[in-house]
């Protein structure tokens, strides 16, 4: 019993349970869902699809994790993704030699460079100008798609470049290139934050910016770096998305990806209030969201209904995860006498603190 409750209290238990439940449902529907087969030397199968389609989201969510760890948020990633795709596709489509490796390199370099600059602009507004992150990045979120439209001149720029196609839809050594790119970046971020002091510095800025500044942490540089990384990762995701469809769609590329990414980060146990972050949790969150999208299609439901299931999973996971809600259920189970007043009192008092230990205390007082 104790072991079970300890397991249930693990932060990542419920997202993990959701992932397993989704996979089980998929296997029941399509028994071969989890089989990976090799065709023409390339890997195919359900898990490969999840990873490949989830690569852009994972990249965006990685950047978002770092930003959220500093108590920030980056709403502009979808717009940056669109701008990056627009730049790359415009460079390739206007080039005299679209097939040349030089063109490809130029396109990728320009797109990534612009994404870093956009990230730095966000970082500047947050770290130097001291503007709230949600508003600072809302500016670029609002204007960004307009800028992307400006670059593509309002068209959906289509291109033909087999080399560029590799980034989003190709294979390296049999593995989808997008998965390798995302995996390498995940590894780099993990090593960079967990094997060096960088991760701790990021967390310290999120826990208490003023205290960490006094302790000698250069929070301005950390914030700039974090937002630049978020921009860069969104830009790379933009390359993947545009290369997957061989077109830059300024209006729809990466639409709502910022919301999916934030959701993935929060599902993975990183709090929006900053501080400790979990890359493992973010990966799990991305897998849940991506598996959900694929599951909806496998179950034969129109893909357009995906948001509904997303909402159900999110609400369910948060409901089960929430210490307040669990405590409340426990209070309800007690004899009827004090339950009504106990419920309202603990609800009233806990919503500002939100910390787990405060809840039983209040419940006891109320009873």
């Amino acid at each position: 019993m104790n072991a079970v409750s300890a397991l249930l209290r693990q932060r990542l238990f419920w997202p993990f349970a959701a992932l397993v439940a989704l996979l089980v449902a998929d296997v029941r529907r399509t028994p071969t869902f989890l089989t990976i087969r090799v065709q023409d030397g390339h890997l195919f199968g359900g898990p490969v699809d999840i990873l490949r389609n989830g690569a852009p989201l994972l990249l965006v969510a990685l950047g978002m994790t770092l930003v959220i760890a500093t108590r920030g948020i980056d709403l502009s990633v979808g717009a940056v993704l669109a701008i990056s795709g627009a730049i790359a596709c415009t460079v390739i489509s206007t080039s005299a030699h679209p097939g040349q490796p030089g063109t490809l390199l130029l396109a990728v370099a320009l797109a990534c460079g612009a994404s870093v600059v956009l990230g730095l602009v966000n970082g500047f507004l947050v770290a130097v100008a001291g503007i709230q992150p949600i508003i600072a990045t809302l500016i670029l979120m609002t204007a960004g798609r307009g800028v992307a439209m400006l670059i593509t001149e309002g068209q959906i720029t289509t291109i033909t470049s087999p080399a560029y196609r590799t980034i989003g839809a190709g294979f390296w050594l049999g593995v989808p290139a997008a998965v390798i790119i995302a995996g390498l970046i995940l590894a780099a971020v993990a090593v960079g934050t967990r094997r060096t002091a960088l991760g701790m510095l990021v967390e310290s800025v999120g826990v208490n910016p003023e205290a960490s500044r006094l302790a000698g942490v250069r929070s301005v540089s950390i914030l700039l770096a974090v937002y630049a990384a978020s921009g860069l990762f969104a830009g790379i995701a933009g390359l993947m998305v545009s290369s997957n469809v061989m077109a830059a769609d300024a209006n729809n590329a990466g639409l709502f990806i910022e919301l999916d990414a934030i959701l993935a980060v929060v599902l993975g146990g990183t709090l929006l209030t900053g501080g400790r972050f979990s890359l493992r949790g973010t990966l799990l969150g991305v897998l849940v969201i991506q598996t959900l999208s694929i599951s909806v299609t496998i179950q034969g439901i129109s893909g357009a209904v995906t948001p509904l299931f997303k909402a159900i999973v999110v609400i369910a996971v948060f409901l089960l995860q929430s210490p307040a809600a669990r405590e409340r259920l426990r209070v309800r189970r007690r004899p009827a006498g004090g339950s009504a007043s106990g419920g309202s009192a603990s609800g009233g008092d806990t919503s500002d603190g939100g910390s787990a230990p405060a809840v039983p205390l209040n419940a006891k007082v109320a009873n």
Binding site: I73, L125, A129, G130, I131, Q132, I134, I135, A136, L138, I139, L140, M141, T142, A143, G144, R145, G146, V147, M149, L150, G154, A250, L255, L259, I262, L263, V266, L272, T273, S302, A304, V305, T306, P307, L308, F309, K310, A311, I312, V314, I315, F318, L319, S322, P323, A324, A325, R328, S344, G347, G348, D349, T350, S351, D352, G354
Partner: protein, 356 residues
């Protein structure tokens, strides 16, 4: 600037109330336009963002009026309110949420859901007396859901309303993936009636928006609920310690925003005569931008619904000017909105810095 002579004459009283350091020695060379205006009007610092909105609005009207013929005609100005009536309602609801320090990302999706649901119900032959209230109530219901998630499950407002947004969008596609036309007489009547004096006209939608704006103004400034909203935004802990009904008020704020989104869905359906599941994408961002441009500060506690009206009108004027310009492509709208937002955020930042 025409205000110059008045300012220097009026500088005396302002020096007393404002920090003397920046009024006394700096008043001749460059006491910024806004500061001078403030001195002129004896404005409290808290009104400064709203004054900024007024200045921008007036500037846009002046620029538009000198650049384009007929820009300042009553018809254009009437249409400014009429075309943006749904956004006024959305911004009013959003103002309440932001004043408590929260945010509501679900409003765009609720607008779509309200429209789709109404369209389907009209199609199935329900009378308007049933459909119209349902369109509003669905918003209120989703507002309850968001509020309960914020208060009971203790999910951050951002995430809670995000979940509601996904829920509403998903339900839209379940109800009708395609655009459903509304041919009911009630909607047609509401959409085509015009009242007016001379060239000034107003539609039922415009009237609804103004009534909601007026009620919100009353609610915010003349009721206990409104005071509690400000108190929560200033400092939730203190508000709780003072014994204010924080939980109920916060729930009320989300229900209010949801209800406003339902009404906005109705107004949007009236103007488009259809319900479509892809309506309202990005509407929440525009509403938030309008609230910020209207002078409400996102950390809560400071702002006005009338400011949000100014914010909506400023955004609407951008659209009008781009239409009048004729040669500018539609995407310039979002670039201009972003630029305006940027300017206001910087302005607010300067004000906050000055205050501390």
């Amino acid at each position: 600037m025409p205000t110059e002579p008045l300012t220097s004459a009026d500088a005396g009283p302002s020096a007393g109330e404002a920090p003397s350091a920046d009024a006394a020695p700096g008043d001749r060379p460059r006491p910024g336009a806004l500061l001078r205006l403030r001195a002129l009007l004896h404005l409290d610092q808290q009104y400064l963002p709203v004054v900024g909105s007024v200045v921008v609005l007036v500037l846009m009207l002046v620029v538009g009026g000198t650049r384009y013929d007929n820009f300042l005609s009553p018809l254009v100005l009437s249409n400014l309110l009429i075309d943006n009536s749904y956004m006024v309602v959305l911004a009013v609801g959003m103002t309440f949420v932001i004043l408590t320090g929260g945010i509501d990302l679900s409003v765009g999706a609720v607008v779509a859901l309200s429209g789709v649901l109404g369209a389907r119900m009209f199609e199935s032959g329900y009378p308007a007396a049933v459909c119209l209230p349902v369109m509003v109530l669905v918003g209120a219901l989703l507002g309850v859901l968001a509020g309960v998630m914020v208060l009971v499950v203790e999910v951050e407002p951002f995430i809670a309303t995000l979940a509601v947004m996904f829920l509403a969008r998903g339900l839209c596609y379940v109800i009708a993936p395609e655009s459903v036309p509304i041919r009911a007489d009630a909607i047609t009547t509401l959409g085509t009636s015009r009242f007016g004096a001379g060239e000034w006209v107003i539609t039922p939608s415009g009237i609804i928006a103004l009534v909601i704006l007026g009620s919100a103004f009353f609610l915010l400034h003349y009721t206990r609920f409104g005071r509690t909203v400000y108190a929560i935004g200033e400092d939730e802990g203190s508000a709780r310690l003072m014994g204010l009904p924080v939980t109920v008020t916060k729930l009320g704020v989300y229900v209010l925003s949801g209800t406003c989104a339902g009404v906005a869905g109705l107004l949007f359906a009236i103007s488009t005569r259809a319900g479509y599941s892809r309506n309202g994408i990005g509407m929440e961002t525009t509403a938030i931008a309008a609230v910020v441009i209207g002078g409400t500060i996102l950390t809560g506690g400071s702002g006005y619904v009338l400011g949000s009206l100014l914010g909506v009108l400023a955004l609407g004027l951008i659209q009008t000017m781009i239409t009048f310009e004729g040669t500018l492509s539609s995407w310039w709208t979002s670039i201009f909105i972003g630029t305006l937002l940027f300017l206001f955020v910087v302005l607010q930042r300067v004000i906050v810095l000055r205050r501390t």
